[in-house]
Amino acid sequence: MTDFSVRSDSVDVEEIMRQIRARVREKRGVDYTEEEIRELASVRLERFLDPSKVRSGLIEEFRRARQVSPPPENYDFEEHTLYASHRLPLLTRIRRLFNPVLKLFFNPNPLIRALHLQSKINQWQLAREPLDYEIMSNLVLEVTRLSIEVKNLKVRLESVATRLDFNEHRARALEGVVQYRPDAEAPEEPEAGAEAEAEGDEEGRDARAAARKRRRRRGRRRPGAGGAGPGDDAAAARGARAIPLEGAVPPPLDPARGDPRRVEGSAPGGAEATSGGAGTAAEATGAGQPPHPPTSATTPPEGRDEP
C-alpha cells in the first residue's frame, strides 16, 4: 500500500476512497466475474453441488409459480371502510352518525386498526417476497463461488504436495551423493590443477582462467534458478566420473539445455565438460574453500550452462 504516499496539501479523501474501492472490486473479481459466476451457477452447478439439495433456478421457479397462481389481491382497509356503502352514500353517513351508539356496545377502532395493519403487512409481504428469492438465489451463487474456490484450492494443494514429495526425494538422493562420494574425488582434483601448472602450457592457463571466470559468473546466480548452483563444477566433475547413486531422481529432459544424462557418456562436449569441471573443483579445494554441496545429482555440462 505504498502508493498512498501523500503530502497533507495533496490529500484527496475522495480520490483515495475511489482507489480503495477499485482495489476491493479488483480483489472480488480475481477469479470470476459476477456474470461468470451466474453462468456457472445456472449451468454447471451439478458438478460442484448436490443438485437435489440446492437449486440454481430459484428465481425462474418463483416467477413461473407466480404466473401459474398469482397471489390473491390485497384489500385496502381505511378508517371509513367499515362504514362505507357502494349503493347508497347516505347509508355511510347514517352509519357514521350512529357510530357513537355502536361504541356503546363495542369499540370498532382496534378492529379498524388491526385490519389496516394487516393490509399493510400483506402489502409489505408481497413486496418482500421477490427480495427473499433474490437473497436465496444470491446465497446459491455465493455457495457456488465458494465451492469452486474450494475445488481450486484442493487442486493447488495436491500440486504443492506432489512437488514437495518430489523435492524430498531429490534432497534425499543428493544427501546420498554427498555421503558416499566425497573422498573419491578429493585426491584427484589437486592433481589435475598441479599437472596443468607444472606443464605451464598456455592451454592449461587459459582453461583455468576460463574456469575461474565461469565460477565467478555462476556464483552470482541464484542456486536453483537456472539449475546450476555454486557447487555445480564439482558436481559436474563427479557426474562425469560417477554413476548416480540409487535413489537419485533424474531431472526432466530439457531440450534447451541438452539432455543432462548424456554427460555420463561420450556425447559431444562431454570431454570438455569433464576437464573443465575437474579444473574448477581442484581450484575450489585448492583455495581452501569448503566444497559446496551439489544441488543436482546430474548437472549439465559446463559449456551448455553458459548464458
Binding site: 500500500m1 505504498t2 497533507s8 484527496d12 483515495i16 476491493v24
Partner: protein
Amino acid sequence: MKLGVVVQRYGADVNGGAELHARYVAEHLARHHEVEVWTTCARDYVTWANERPAGVEDVNGVTVRRFPVNRPRDPVDFGRRSTVVFDTVHSVADELGWLRSEGPASSALVGHAARAADRDFVIFFSYRYYHAWHGARAVPGRALLVPTAERDPAIGVSLFPSLFREVRALMYNSFEERAMIQAVSGNAAVPGVVVGVGSDVPAHVDPARFRRQFGIDAPFIVYVGRVDENKGCKELFAHFQQYVRSSATRLSLVVIGNAMMPVPAHPRIRHLGFLDDRDKFDAMAAAEALVMPSYFESLSMVALEAWALGRPVLANGRCDVLRGQCVRSNAGLYYESAGEFVEVLRALELSRSLRHALGRNGHDYFVRHYAWPVIERKYLDMLDRLREDDRRGRPRSAPLPLPGWFGRRRRDRPPAADVLASLPTGPVLPSSRSVSPASAERRRRPA
C-alpha cells in the same frame, strides 16, 4: 444578556453527547453572559427516574436549576406508541402521547421557562424530547434550538416541523443536519448557523504514559464511546476480526467506554472500560487512528477530538454526517462494507505518510471550525443578531395553536418512517455532489 439553557440531563458526570454539548456551551457562554441551566432531576436517559434532588446547585460555575420529572418512562408504553407513530397513519393526539411517553415530561420545568420572562433568550437542546417542544412553545420569540438531530424516524413526526419554523434560530451541528431539517420543515428563512461544539482537548498529552499504564506496545486503533450495537460496535468487531484474519498485521483494537454488549474475547481486542479524560486523550494520541462505526451521528465529538490531536479518523461511510466531515476536512477515510474496512485500515496501517497527512488536515480543520473561540463567536454573533432584530422591531413568529379536540384525533398523519425515507440523504459536499435520492440510499443500507 441573560440566557437560559434547557437540556434533559445536566451534570459534570453526564457524558451523553447532547448533554455534554449543552454543558460545554453553557460554561463557555457563561464567560460572556449570565447563564442559568434548567434541567430535570434525571440521571438515566432510559427511565428518566428522579435521582437528583430538585433545586439549585452550582456546576463548574454555572447555576443549575433542577425540576422533577412527572413520571418515569414506561418502556412498553413508549415502544407501543413509537410503533404507532413511526409505522402507521396516526393522529396528532398519538404524537403528543408519544412525546409525553418518551419524556422527560417535566411540567415544572416548562412552567418555569414560561414564567422566566427575565431571560432574553432560552437555548433548548435536543428537539425530540418533551422539554424542547413544550418549552419552546412556552417562550415564543425567545427560543433558540440546538436540534442535535440524527437520521432517525423521530424527525418525521409531524409535530416537529412547526417547532423548527417557530424558534428564533437554530444552531446546527453539521451541514447534513441542516439539510435534513430544512427538507423536512422548509425553515430556510429561520436564522441558522452550523456551529457544532468544541472540545477541551489538553494542550499536552502523553501517549507513552498510556502505553505504560495499560501495557500496550503494539500499534492500535481506538474506539471511544458506548459499546453498543446501535453505535455499530458489533459490525466493528466483525470487520476488525476479518482484518486480522486477512492481513499480517500487528494492529490491535482498543475499546474505551461502557459496554452494553459483550466485547469479543479476541487477543487483538482490548476493552479498557470507561476511562477519565486524561487517559482517553492519551489513548487517542497513542493510537494510529480513531474508528467511528456509528450509523447515526449528528456530530461526532470524539472524531473532532481525534482531529484536534492530529489523528486520522476511520468512519462509517453510511453515516452522512461522518462521511461529510471526512470529505470536507480531508482528514478521515470511511468504509461501507467489510471489504472496504479491510482495505482502508490496511492503507492507514501501512502508510505513515497518509496517516500524518490526514492527521495534519484534521488538526487544521478542528482549529479552523471547532476551536472554542470560533464556536463562542458563532453563538455570540447569533445572539447579537437576534437582539438587533428585536431592537428593530422585526416581527416574531408565534407558535401555531394545536388543532381542536376532533382535529387532534383525526388520523391523517403519515408514518414518521415514511417521511424520513422521503428526505434527501447523503453528505453535503463542497462541490454540491451531495444529496442523492433517498431510495438509492435505502438500497445501500442494511436490512
